[in-house]
């Protein structure tokens, strides 16, 4: 009852508000000053609604800390034994060896015998959009109704109660990039989240992180639409689809640019699909491109030149190693698995050395990603398997370097490397303290800090959050020790 009446009030208010605005622009400026920009009705000018679903992220309560005595992999290539990491006001204040002074008022956290890394970043997650349980009513990741759905935003499908956010956090993941699925040529916008529990998506939204757009090469779009006897049904159909979309986007952008410049005529009608693609053209929206095969990556790169935009990251990229020097020259990241291959033809040539070979050229940007609610909990192990494969091939790969595949390179791949991804002064205090070397299968995340706030503590059930869904379910309330004893 109450909610109905509240809704009624707000709808009425909205209607009033809309009337007032249109009224003033119609009767006022339009007649008196024709050269002046008409004020457009709410929601019609993309420039005035760049951030319509803004972040309300506040961060968890935080304290100033000094994490001392641990082995630090700073994400920027350094390994510091007996290191000191200073967290002040939610930021990294200093990182150094044992001589680094601890400022007054900082709680000292003993990390002796443990390892300290930046928070893990998963650049390819479907948490919230393909949540657990994956049952009827919960599959919100693919708007597979037409090949170009650049108008949909993954954030509008995110279910914040997905228990996968909690298990990912227990694996050290502090930042997640949530993407739509790959059924479409343009699947829609991706969103970057802080991995903190929240009642709303907005409460997780990473402040200031750029929007991205999911594109997909290859088998998925051509299979999905080809099976419906519509385009695209082939690889060449895929390319024609992308090109037609960018032609429309260029045209749309030109119309807006012209209208903004001259103010003459009627403004273009806002188009959500083209707004996203214009963001790609002006560089504000970063392309995250599902693309397995090396030859298809080369085509996508040529197409970016045809229309004048940049590709930020290829995802899955099981054949990135075949074009590794090209990717390095083009400054494009590749986000990969180590162990996944052979589940379809375009993944047949996936090799465990992919990450190491992409990493090898000067400027190479190798990222280990998950695409999976289970794997995201163990990105450190997936990186370890990639290190092992590289070493088997005779390559020299240090662990302090390889941690960048799931931290700083991952941050670069989604455009937040100025904010997080390494333990460097001024960056967000996203920190994991591991029980052992994170490249060991036995390492567990002991404490996970997001912006300096304790988000997870393996030793303290008070810092092991549960989503609403998990309450009262079978097994609810059992501690790890209780489960091990079989709840007897």
């Amino acid at each position: 009852m109450k909610s109905v009446s509240l809704l009624g009030v707000s709808l009425a208010a909205l209607a009033l508000c809309a009337c007032a605005t249109t009224g003033s622009s119609d009767s006022g400026e339009a007649t008196e000053a024709p050269r002046e920009r008409k004020a457009m009705a709410e929601g019609l000018d993309p420039a005035t609604v760049a951030d319509p679903y803004p972040s309300t992220y506040r961060g968890l309560p935080r304290e100033n800390m000094a994490i001392v005595g641990g082995t630090v992999f700073d994400g920027a290539g350094r390994r510091i034994e007996n290191g000191v990491v200073i967290l002040t006001d939610g930021k990294i204040a200093a990182v150094g060896d044992a001589s680094t002074p601890v400022p007054g008022g900082h709680r000292v956290v003993d990390a002796r015998g443990r390892f300290v890394t930046p928070g893990i970043i998963d650049v390819h997650s479907h948490l919230g959009v393909y949540p657990s349980p994956g049952v009827t009513g919960m599959s919100d990741g693919n708007e597979a109704t037409q090949p170009n759905t650049a108008e949909v935003w993954a954030e509008h499908s995110v279910w914040p109660q997905d228990p996968g956010f909690n298990t990912a956090r227990a694996g050290g993941v502090t930042t997640l990039h949530i993407l739509p699925g790959s059924a479409n040529l343009f699947g829609g916008r991706g969103v970057t989240l802080r991995n903190v529990p929240s009642v709303t998506m907005q409460g997780m939204k990473f402040p200031g992180a750029p929007y991205t757009v999911k594109m997909a090469c290859g088998e998925n779009p051509s299979r999905v639409y080809g099976n419906r006897n519509s385009s695209p049904a082939t690889g060449m159909g895929n390319m024609a689809g992308y090109r037609a979309a960018f032609i429309s986007a260029r045209d749309y952008k030109e119309k807006w640019d012209k209208w903004r410049e001259t103010g003459e005529g009627t403004p273009p009608t806002r188009n959500l699909e083209l707004d996203t693609l214009v963001g790609v053209l002006d560089g504000s929206i970063l392309i995250q491109n599902h693309c397995y095969r090396g030859d298809e990556m080369a085509l996508m790169i040529d197409m970016s030149r045809e229309f004048g935009y940049r590709i930020t990251t290829f995802h899955h990229a099981t054949e990135a190693y075949k074009v590794a020097p090209l990717l390095a020259r083009e400054n494009i990241c590749a986000a990969m698995w180590t162990g996944w291959w052979g589940f379809k033809m375009e993944s047949l040539d996936g090799i465990e050395e992919n990450v190491a070979l992409v990493d090898a050229p000067e400027g190479g940007c190798a990222v280990v990603h998950s695409d999976d609610a289970e794997l995201t909990q163990r990105l450190n192990q997936e990186a370890a398997a990639a290190v092992a494969a590289g070493r088997r091939a005779g390559m020299t790969i240090t662990e302090e370097h390889a941690i960048s595949w799931i931290t700083s390179n991952a941050a670069r791949a989604i455009g937040i490397d100025d904010q997080t991804g390494s333990l460097e002064a001024g960056k967000r205090a996203d920190v994991v303290i591991w029980s052992a070397n994170p490249f060991s299968v036995y390492a567990r995340a002991d404490q996970v800090y997001v912006d300096g706030g304790l988000a997870f503590d393996r030793a303290d059930p008070n810092f092991q959050p549960l989503s609403d869904f998990e309450l009262g379910q079978p097994g609810h309330g059992q501690t790890a020790a209780g489960v091990r004893q079989g709840a007897r």
């Binding site: 349980p133 059924a183 075949k322 379809k344 070979l357 999976d372 290190v387 299968v441 036995y442 079978p474």
Partner: protein
């Protein structure tokens, strides 16, 4: 150094072939996990494809000596719930699923197994030397491609026509023209949501149909002659299915039951008791909630220890500690690989490692990927263990085999050292220099 020697030995082996299995080989100096215990600085002696002795003595004179100092020696890994040899590229199709309208229990995966599959050498590089190959069904872990980001795009699943998915086979992963060790080692049936789906939508239908089926099988077994003369009442299963189910009904062939929910596990235990059949639980994500009952029924479990999310409503109690809890209760467990253990069978050892980091003792984890699966499927002492008389499936590791940073450095299957090559390594070598030389990579080998 040792690695290079081993690699060179492998190259020689590839030329010489299985003949070298005839010589005596002694692996010395390593930390030996026998599958049930650990021997420091141990010696493993092999001859004619079998383990001759395992202990702390020196190598027999005249033996080929493999120095494993600083290394770890284990039995080869036995992949359970696997599709190895039955599938090349998952989305293209496989020989693991039966959608025939006239065949259910009689479906036999052993006819479709390919010794030349490119998946076998890749798994072998991960230390896998044997596999229990199972037919797929709508509830099996091999039944989807794990690239779920086209979900909702209209891809349909497949449906088995009957309660039974068919019969499993055991293979070895040695090079050669024959990989089949034994066909028809177990029957597979989905229970829980998937089984209910097959039976018409509800669990009550499946259990009732199952009991009726067992009754028919027993009736048929007692009255074969009458059946052949046409003097037996109509039976709902085909003759082939009835024949295939006789060993199950008589308790000679185990039934692999895919099941997740604790309440379903209890129902299955009760069913097995009532019908006097042997069951192996597969999945059992909520097994920890009824671990004592599973242990009391002496029912083994095939478990994936990294399944900890409620992928559906029947595994809301899934936890990382499941494997540890089952083991602690006294259940014999085998640890599975990922995604149907075909392309990712090599991850079996990492899964075992994760079970350890959540409370399973290390030696129990090694057993869960070597000796336990052999035991569960009736091969106790025949493989999966380093003990005199067992077939010589042996892996030499650079370190702890459960660690991703560790690599297999030598793999013996039935006493024959296997080449440490696979298609994935050929691809690696073709592109390791960047692939931008004067001649295209295609000129490489």
């Amino acid at each position: 150094m040792i690695r290079r020697t081993l690699l060179m030995a492998a190259a020689v082996m590839a030329v010489a072939g299985p003949a070298l299995a005839q010589e005596v080989t002694a692996i010395v100096g390593g930390r030996v996990h026998t599958g049930t215990s650990v021997i420091e600085n141990g010696t493993v002696v092999m001859r004619d494809g079998r383990i001759v002795s395992v202990g702390t003595g020196g190598a027999p004179s005249g033996a080929r000596v493999v120095n494993a100092a600083g290394k770890v020696v284990t039995p080869g890994i036995v992949a359970v719930d696997s599709g190895l040899g039955g599938s090349e590229v998952s989305s293209v199709g496989d020989d693991l699923r039966n959608a025939s309208n006239t065949l259910s229990a009689a479906f036999d995966v052993s006819y479709g197994l390919d010794p030349w599959s490119i998946t076998l050498p890749t798994a072998r590089l991960g230390g896998v030397t044997r596999a229990v190959v199972v037919p797929n069904h709508p509830g099996s872990s091999g039944g989807h491609y794990h690239e779920e980001d086209t979900a909702g795009a209209g891809q349909g699943g497949f449906h088995t026509p009957g309660l039974f998915a068919g019969q499993a086979a055991v293979i070895h992963l040695g090079q050669g023209t024959e990989i089949l060790v034994r066909p028809r080692v177990a029957m597979v049936a989905p229970f829980g949501d998937a089984g209910a789906g097959v039976a018409g939508g509800a669990r009550g239908a499946e259990f009732t149909l199952f009991k009726e089926t067992m009754a028919e099988v027993r009736l048929y077994a007692r009255n074969r002659a009458a059946y052949e003369r046409g003097n037996l009442r109509d039976l709902s299963l085909s003759r082939a299915d009835l024949e295939a189910l006789i060993p199950v009904a008589e308790g000679r062939m185990p039934l692999i039951v895919t099941v997740s929910r604790a309440s379903d596990i209890l129902q299955v235990l009760r069913l097995a008791d009532e019908e006097n059949i042997r069951v192996i639980l597969d999945g059992a994500e909520e097994g920890w909630m009824v671990a004592d009952q599973i242990a009391a029924a002496r029912v083994p479990v095939l478990v994936n220890p990294i399944t900890n999310l409620p992928g559906n409503l029947e595994r809301r109690g899934a936890r990382m500690q499941n494997a540890a809890a089952l083991h602690a209760a006294g259940v014999v467990i085998a640890i599975k690989g990922n995604e149907g253990s075909i392309h990712r069978a090599r991850e079996t050892r990492y899964n075992a490692g994760n079970a350890v980091s959540h409370g399973l003792p290390h030696d129990a984890a090694i057993a869960a990927i070597t000796s336990n699966p052999a035991r569960i499927f009736g091969f106790d002492g025949q493989f999966g263990t380093l003990a005199a008389g067992a077939e010589a499936d042996v892996v030499i590791w650079s370190g702890d085999p459960l660690e991703p940073l560790t690599q297999a450095e030598a793999v013996f299957v039935r006493g024959v050292e296997q080449p440490m090559t696979a298609r994935n390594l050929l691809l690696r070598d073709r592109y390791r220099q960047g692939g931008e030389g004067a001649y295209p990579p295609a000129y490489g080998r």
